[in-house]
Symmetry: C2
Subunit: 373 residues, 2 copies
């Protein structure tokens, strides 16, 4: 279905027993098959991996963080270097967030008003202002295929009055973002807030949907609430979003979270876990985590995950990876990040195939059982 | 020419104006075209680079350090993991040193006698003994194509009596290494010592050559002496080594050192500089070093070295690499190590071609002038 701005999102298949669906999102730098996972390249690099390696393990789209890039190297520098795609050597779709979430999690002494946010950089303490207009300007400099409206992340509180303010402000800012937008080759998504209150989520979704944007995100989750609270929010929020637009669950998550969110109609995910755990010597496998520093792996000639087709598992043993981590060698984080990212991307491919073949319910229960989740 | 053990080294070309020569060294895991540079994989990994990346930029052979690997993960573990080639995923030639040099540079409280060395591990303080026999046993576990005799590195002193002892002991140990050797698929090299004293170098070379080994190294250089002292030692030492055996200058060096040593008849080199400088944001280029943290590179869309065919220069700008280093991102060291290793390997390829085309003298003076050396 054609969308505002000339992008297109088509729902190609729908699971009979859940809200899981198969989609195809056409963007200026390529097609994203959904449900999709976006490896996180916070500072304009998915930590330790080259673009070619990401592509080889099936990455379709990566995420980069506006907050980090506006502070360093600066969005004007990124623009001078040809924009994010050119700078990173990644000629496929990119999504940038708005910087909103990081203001709440990383910035110092943030002051939020309807006008926007003023905060101190976590890098050098400099005072920085981020308004809806600036968030758009910066993201236009960066040049991603998908950009996000500045939102007030309501996850840090359960105070009803504060949640109400965050929802109202998020809508106000989304309207200003849409008005400030100049480039026609970027799909602008809004972020539904409202904490764990169904009425506020409904209000947020309804007011944002009036803007008729090419996609919608569910924000403020995966920040401390329980797995069940998260699923409960999805249960009543996703149904309020337009069926013909992609739905993105921000910052989520573990394999079991992704599977359950797909079942509730989510199309897009991002999470730092594959690379962060890769640097911390913890492997994702279909049967749960494997800690490679454990002495039991010292002489193991097994791959990280038997049967895994990734370059790491095809060539290297657990014993070698353990050695690399014990010896503090860069190649350990590199190889394990590659496996972990590959694991997430393969999970998504398996999810898509299961939906396409009308066997997602069986896949879901099998996968969760194997994961021990 | 056939050599003891069934290896072969052929001199394919000889420069008319210098001792530079072109060779072909056939080893169990492949052919090494000389003059050759060996990237250093101290702990069984060339820091930050995958075997495939090394191969793509022209690496023919890599070096690994016996001292590090015997302490961690232990040579028995490496053997259990299938030997060094299998463990590293590098199915081409490997050279391991004997551990001698590291005992002098890294180990604590080393006690050296004719029997061997007893020292404390720099990792956990454990007491370790390294005799000529153990050095061979460990290297047989590791399984490299080329292994080195244990030697006493005489570079730490200019005391004549100590140098005499080191030369005598190095010969004694080489004889014991040869006697201890069991595997027939590893080429054993001896190391000529003698500091900067021509008579001692001559004595060392003469006594080691009697062992009729498949190759000879010049040791104890690049440890603090001047460039001219180093070249002076080569001037009188290389001529004492058999013409039909490869000559390896250990731990050297900078591009200008390599070019001058090739002119004096050296065939093989190793050095940590390309990867160490790569991690420290310093690029090797044909016109000298480029420090990528410098502010002047912030907005540079130029590659690290214009015209360089390496994957880093083909895809990424100086501005991006500077950003990666400023943001402490792993990809900076990865990409710059890749360029630097590629630079050294390309230098060797250019040297080989210049010798083959009888224009090494012109190449040498041009290259040194460009380097500002």
């Amino acid at each position: 279905m054609a969308m505002p701005g000339g992008f297109s999102f088509r729902v190609l298949g729908q699971d009979a027993a859940s809200s899981a669906r198969l989609g195809q999102f056409c963007l200026p730098h390529g097609v994203v098959h959904t449900p999709a996972f976006m490896p996180v390249g916070t500072q304009g690099t998915v930590k330790g991996l080259l673009p070619q390696q990401l592509r080889e393990v099936g990455a379709q789209i990566v995420l980069a963080n506006t907050y980090h890039l506006m502070l360093r190297p600066g969005s004007d520098t990124v623009a001078t270097l040809g924009g994010l795609h050119r700078m990173m050597g990644w000629d496929w779709p990119i999504l940038t967030d708005s910087g909103g979430f990081q203001i709440f999690s990383l910035a110092e002494r943030a002051q939020i008003s309807d006008a926007g946010a003023i905060f101190r950089s976590h890098i050098d303490g400099a005072s920085v202002e981020l308004t809806p207009e600036r968030a758009i300007r910066v993201q236009e400099d960066l040049g991603a295929d998908i950009i996000m409206c500045l939102d007030e992340c309501s996850a840090q509180t359960t105070d009803h009055a504060k949640l109400v303010t965050a929802v109202r402000r998020t809508t106000l800012w989304a309207e200003r973002c849409l008005a400030a937008k100049r480039r026609s080759d970027q799909a602008l998504f809004a972020v539904v807030q409202g904490g764990v209150e169904p009425e506020l989520r409904a209000e947020s979704a309804a007011s944002l949907c009036k803007l008729d944007l090419p996609g919608y995100a569910v924000g403020g989750l995966s920040v401390g609430e329980s797995h069940h609270e998260m699923l409960s929010v999805l249960d009543h929020t996703v149904a309020l979003l337009p069926e013909d637009r992609p739905r993105y669950l921000m910052g989520v998550g573990r394999p079991q979270d992704i599977i359950e969110a797909v079942a509730r109609g989510i199309d897009m995910f991002d999470c730092v876990l594959p690379t962060r755990n890769g640097r911390n010597a913890t492997a994702f496998t279909a049967t749960g985590p494997v800690r490679l520093r454990n002495a039991e792996h010292q002489r193991s000639t097994e791959p990280v995950e038997p049967g895994c087709p990734c370059p790491t598992c095809g060539q290297f043993s657990r014993g070698y990876l353990r050695h690399l981590f014990m010896a503090d060698e860069m190649l350990g984080p590199i190889l394990l990040s590659l496996h972990n990212v590959s694991f997430f991307l393969r999970l998504m491919a398996e999810i898509r195939q299961a939906i396409a073949e009308q066997r997602f319910a069986a896949f879901r229960s099998d996968a969760l059982a194997r994961l021990g989740a």
